[in-house]
């Protein structure tokens, strides 16, 4: 396979010596089957072992290797260097997050938000194991299948200008995962989640830019999930208002 050269312009930030992030250029050879992550690993292995970035599976499942590649939010393992169509591949850490080092950003805030929406099946009362599995029809699975594809890569948070302006916003992925469990026929925790979601810093802060769904590498469509949650929360609120005795609190 023909080997060519490309310049990787990588954002560097070493907290022990840099006051602010700067770019560093690396000229590397590449072939048509190399992805941006391969380029970063080539630099790390052969040129500069201090370059720091996250990666794990190399197959678009772990969600670790998100970055901004020439201004576009991508998983670096799923972006071929040849498809960047530029002599310079500019790699920046994911926007909207504080930088820990080089391309590694701090996700602690998201992890806390994820916990708040309880991304697991909640039951008022667990059935004994002797009664068997909780069976679902294909239609019941289809109701939440799309949102269950989320790999927590955080590209949606990087694309969201609302989160960029207000770090308190619960954000796309946490909302999509909450919606995933609310739509699950086995789950009974909708009210507990809506208490967290239907707030000023929850789903109502979303102005439906829709970029979260555009950048999602798994087609989860968090923007649609949030709009659906707004309908569910509105119906719940109206029930509490009009039928206070029958509606859950």
């Amino acid at each position: 396979m023909a080997e060519r050269e490309v310049v990787f312009r990588v954002k560097r930030y070493r907290p022990e010596r840099d006051a602010a992030p700067t770019y560093q250029d690396y000229r590397i050879p590449y072939t048509d089957d190399m992805v941006v992550l391969d380029g970063l690993n080539y630099i790390k292995d052969k040129m500069d072992s201090t370059l720091t970035f996250r990666w794990s599976c190399r197959m678009g499942i772990c969600g670790s290797c998100g970055a901004s590649v020439n201004g576009k939010l991508r998983l670096t393992c799923g972006t071929f260097i040849k498809d960047v169509r530029s002599k310079t591949v500019v790699v920046d850490p994911m926007p909207n997050f504080p930088i820990l080092k080089d391309l590694v950003v701090d996700f602690d805030d998201f992890l806390q938000k994820l916990l708040e929406v309880k991304p697991f099946i909640l039951r008022d009362e667990e059935r004994p194991l002797s009664e068997g599995e909780y069976l679902q029809t294909p239609e019941e699975i289809e109701a939440y299948r799309q949102q269950s594809m989320c790999i927590n890569c955080m590209l949606c948070y990087s694309a969201c200008p609302v989160f960029g302006a207000s770090e308190h916003f619960i954000g796309p992925a946490a909302s999509a995962l909450a919606y995933r469990y609310i739509r699950d026929s086995r789950d009974e925790g909708a009210d507990a989640r809506l208490d967290v979601l239907s707030t000023k810093t929850g789903i109502w802060e979303c102005t439906f830019v829709g970029e979260c769904s555009v950048v999602c590498p798994k087609d989860v469509d968090p923007a649609a999930a949030i709009q659906n949650l707004k309908v569910i929360a509105s119906i719940r609120h109206m029930r509490q208002l009009l039928l206070p005795k029958s509606a859950p609190r």
Partner: protein
């Protein structure tokens, strides 16, 4: 840890952010357009002279430009929301969700029909 700071002009870096900003500004401008129409009703209530004076004011070159800009933003606001409706579709009338382009087209057709009906009722014809 180096804190994130949103760059000035972030909304110019992505055409979809720019469209979003135009849509949001369009919401505010639609409000101004509604105020203009409300003022027209006030002048109508004030009598024929006031009403004629209002239209004379509208006919000035400056107001023509202002109204054209306002109307442009109203169109951007309406059309961008028509397109978003197809993406959200919390209420589904069919088993499979309609394609965003189809929902957009349905909304535009309905909008034209309702506008035509209003014009017909008010003016007795187009």
């Amino acid at each position: 840890m180096y804190p994130w700071k949103r760059p000035v002009g972030w909304w110019l870096r992505n055409p979809r952010y720019l469209l979003f900003q135009l849509r949001e500004v369009g919401g505010f401008v639609s409000g101004l357009f509604a105020l203009l129409l409300l003022y027209m009703l006030v002048q109508y209530h004030a009598g024929p002279e006031a009403y004629a004076g209002f239209f004379a004011m509208l006919a000035s070159p400056l107001m023509l430009v202002v109204v054209a800009v306002l109307f442009g933003f109203v169109l951007v606001h309406a059309f961008t929301w028509f397109f978003l409706l197809g993406k959200a579709q919390p209420v589904r009338f069919t088993k499979k969700p309609l394609r965003p382009g189809t929902v957009f087209a349905i909304n535009v057709v309905l909008w034209v029909l309702v506008s035509g009906a209003v014009l017909f009722i008010v003016f007795g014809g187009l």
